[in-house]
Symmetry: C3
Subunit: 201 residues, 3 copies
């Protein structure tokens, strides 16, 4: 079986970098702000993950090609900003794929570190979601993750599936199933505008 | 002497989880947002502490029962939200106890790592206070710690007391004295609405 | 050649502590809030740097004199707040010097850790800028770094210069050149109100 991970990981990094830099342009940040926002959105989740499990230097420091990919993505986002809107669906699918893969990478890293399965799922969810959380904190918003369609829930479901199946099936297959599950939940949630119930105190 | 720490640590975790999830409901976050906010408020201070001293994987990753306690607390907070208001005094006492114990745990960890006493007090204060700081940042407020009755000051006093006495008295007794001191300062400050002076630039 | 680093590092720490505590007074925080803000602004960048490369306990925990310097600086800022405004130019020069030296210290640490040159420059930029980013997040603003005159760009240029020259010239001399470059860019940018172009999405 061909390992499809690297290609999707790059696609996910690109999608998150576009998301961060595009949000920065909406807030009228200068060109450096746009670059930083693309960068932290793409690497924030993985950085928090590595710092918490003690796997340092963190991932982006060990593979400088990630920096180049993010730099190229941000430049492209600035140049082609007019087309970004028309690509909304493509972008959303990239983001869903990236979310799925980042979640599973985080979950795998937890298993490799010998952590409890529930902790692994939490770690995967943090890896998938916290780039966007940092983006929203830096832009002074309440993180979107708390206010929009099902997002982190998709990560929790995908990560749980991975943890449950990985000892009983081919790992590559389990990975694909889990990533597809995260994507499917996101697509259905956004398509039908599903959101979790709210409770008012 | 019976070691009362585990029971109080759980009480403190519960109090902080209630505080985070209740604040999230006041801001009308969805059910997942409420869960995350309970979680980060309860484990945020200890996570920053462990990351800064390099004790990784951080504490909540090594004891999955903490996750279960927080999960149960958040569910209970959602179910019994109407009663939370009437429990305000109980909650406040839990929070004060948790603050005291978390401060002393952080200070102890610093001593065990061979750090300078002043650094240990800073570490204890961070452990006690920064869960709430992260809660307020995520909810897009200026952290309450900066605007309300004496809070971090109680941690600094309790931690300093612990550092000064621990070599000269029974460690368990010193722990109790320091925790009681933190609680007492908090109770007196809130009861008499004491706050620190402000300076306007 | 005399090593001028320690003196400038202290000057930079002082300048950042003044900047943080003065911003806190403008937001009417209480005396403890002013202290914390001085503290995190001065040590924030270095803490994030050390946590990401795994050099723990982080720097301020290993040299308690930094805490004393910051404490003294915050007290002086409170006492002499009336004079701070008249010292604006002095403060700005201190800040520029601190920015330059912190950037180069971060870049050097990256090289010592065997990281890729581009990653070292990113690490230096984070060391120089992120104390201020944390200050602005805690005070609930969009970080100034994203909205004002060329700031992080100066760090990127200075760090790049250091990385390019350090193998070909006397390291002490390269350090001075790089620090002067960061300062010069800042001074020119502020003097002529230069800012980077903005892109609106």
């Amino acid at each position: 079986m061909i390992n499809i991970s690297p290609a999707i990981e790059i696609a996910g990094t690109v999608a998150f970098a576009v998301s961060g830099s595009y949000s920065a342009m909406l807030k009228r940040l200068d060109v450096f702000g746009v670059l930083i926002m693309g960068f932290v959105t793409a690497i924030g989740g993985g950085t928090i993950r590595d710092v918490m499990i003690g796997d340092t230097p963190v991932a982006w420091m060990r593979d400088y090609r990630l920096l180049l990919i993010i730099l190229g993505t941000v430049i492209a986002t600035i140049l082609f900003k007019k087309y970004i809107k028309t690509l909304k669906t493509t972008l959303f699918l990239f983001d869903a794929l990236g979310l799925g893969l980042f979640t599973i990478i985080g979950t795998q890293k937890g298993i490799a570190a010998g952590l409890n399965p529930g902790v692994c799922v939490a770690l995967g969810t943090i890896t998938g979601c916290f780039g966007g959380v940092i983006r929203d904190i830096l832009l002074n918003d309440i993180p979107l993750i708390f206010r929009k369609e099902i997002y982190a829930t998709a990560c929790i479901v995908g990560g749980t599936l991975y943890v449950l199946l990985v000892d009983h099936m081919d790992p590559q297959l389990v990975k694909i199933i889990a990533v597809v599950m995260v994507c499917a939940i996101r697509i259905v949630a956004v398509r039908y505008k599903l959101s979790l119930p709210k409770f008012y105190a």
